[in-house]
């Protein structure tokens, strides 16, 4: 039984951080997702990770560590790097006229 595996957890966190760094809610879009919303998402993700369960051979923890590290990476990436995400894809598409 393996209780903890650092590498995949770190990989999941990195991938979540990459995705979370692109999450930015602009006021013009009139979407209202506050910090409480992200805490609710974290709780829901924890429940889903518990229901999903661990991988075979990694049954030390009762939940899916990749799932948890992914959602933590997304939320931390959104909080720390999300403000730098720019509204670029529309402009670049218009510029290149693809």
């Amino acid at each position: 039984m393996v209780y903890f595996y650092a590498g995949p957890t770190i990989l999941g966190f990195i991938l979540g951080l990459i995705l979370g760094s692109r999450v930015r809610i602009y006021p013009e879009s009139k979407l209202n997702f506050t910090l409480g919303s992200f805490i609710a998402i974290l709780l829901a993700a924890s429940i889903i990770a518990y229901l999903e369960g661990p991988f075979p051979y990694y049954t030390g923890l009762p939940l899916a560590p990749g799932f948890i590290s992914g959602i933590l990476g997304i939320i931390i990436g959104k909080v720390t790097l999300g403000r730098f995400a720019k509204d670029e894809h529309m402009k670049s598409n218009e510029r290149d006229h693809i």
């Binding site: 393996v2 650092a6 990989l11 999941g12 993700a45």
Partner: protein, 160 residues
């Protein structure tokens, strides 16, 4: 789009993306892997874009960002293959995480998957394939949504 969808879809997209990450990470011992996980992550983004539109979506991938992800995925895949070619003579040979016992144990423990399979570089190949597939599918969707139909009316270009 309805208010219910606008409230529901963004959290659901984040959960779907986490499922994709989990699918990538368990690719060597469970059904799934890089392609499936990357497609699931792209599916989360597409879900968001379909509801909020390309302009208002809270998950914003710029063209440069997607190109960078795709390029990084493809380059790391090639370099992992070349490492096998250099150290063993076979392209994409699974070297494991301890090349010729020169890697210190604490670094080896970080990169090793400690299940009985000891999959070596396979999880990392899954990871970079996931990046590549996610970038490709996302780029296709953004390009299709960003297309502007162009017709020629009496010699003048007109955008629709």
């Amino acid at each position: 789009m309805s208010t219910i969808l606008k409230i529901f879809v963004f959290p659901a997209a984040l959960i779907i993306m986490c499922l994709g990450i989990d699918t990538i990470l368990g690719g060597h011992i469970t059904p799934g892997g890089g392609f499936q996980g990357g497609a699931i992550i792209a599916g989360g983004f597409i879900f968001c874009v379909m509801v909020y539109g390309l302009k208002d979506t809270p998950i914003r991938f710029s063209k440069e960002f997607i190109v960078g992800l795709e390029s990084a995925g493809a380059l790391i895949y090639v370099f992992l293959g070349l490492a096998g070619l250099i150290f063993s003579g076979y392209y994409l040979y699974n070297l494991g995480v301890d090349i010729y016992h020169i890697i210190p144990p604490f670094i080896k423990n970080i990169f090793d998957y400690p299940d009985p399979l000891h999959a070596g570089i396979i999880p990392y190949l899954n990871f970079v394939v996931g990046l590549e597939v996610f970038g490709s599918l996302t780029a296709v969707v953004i390009a299709f949504l960003g297309f502007k139909k162009e017709i020629v009316v009496d010699g003048e270009d007109e955008e629709i």
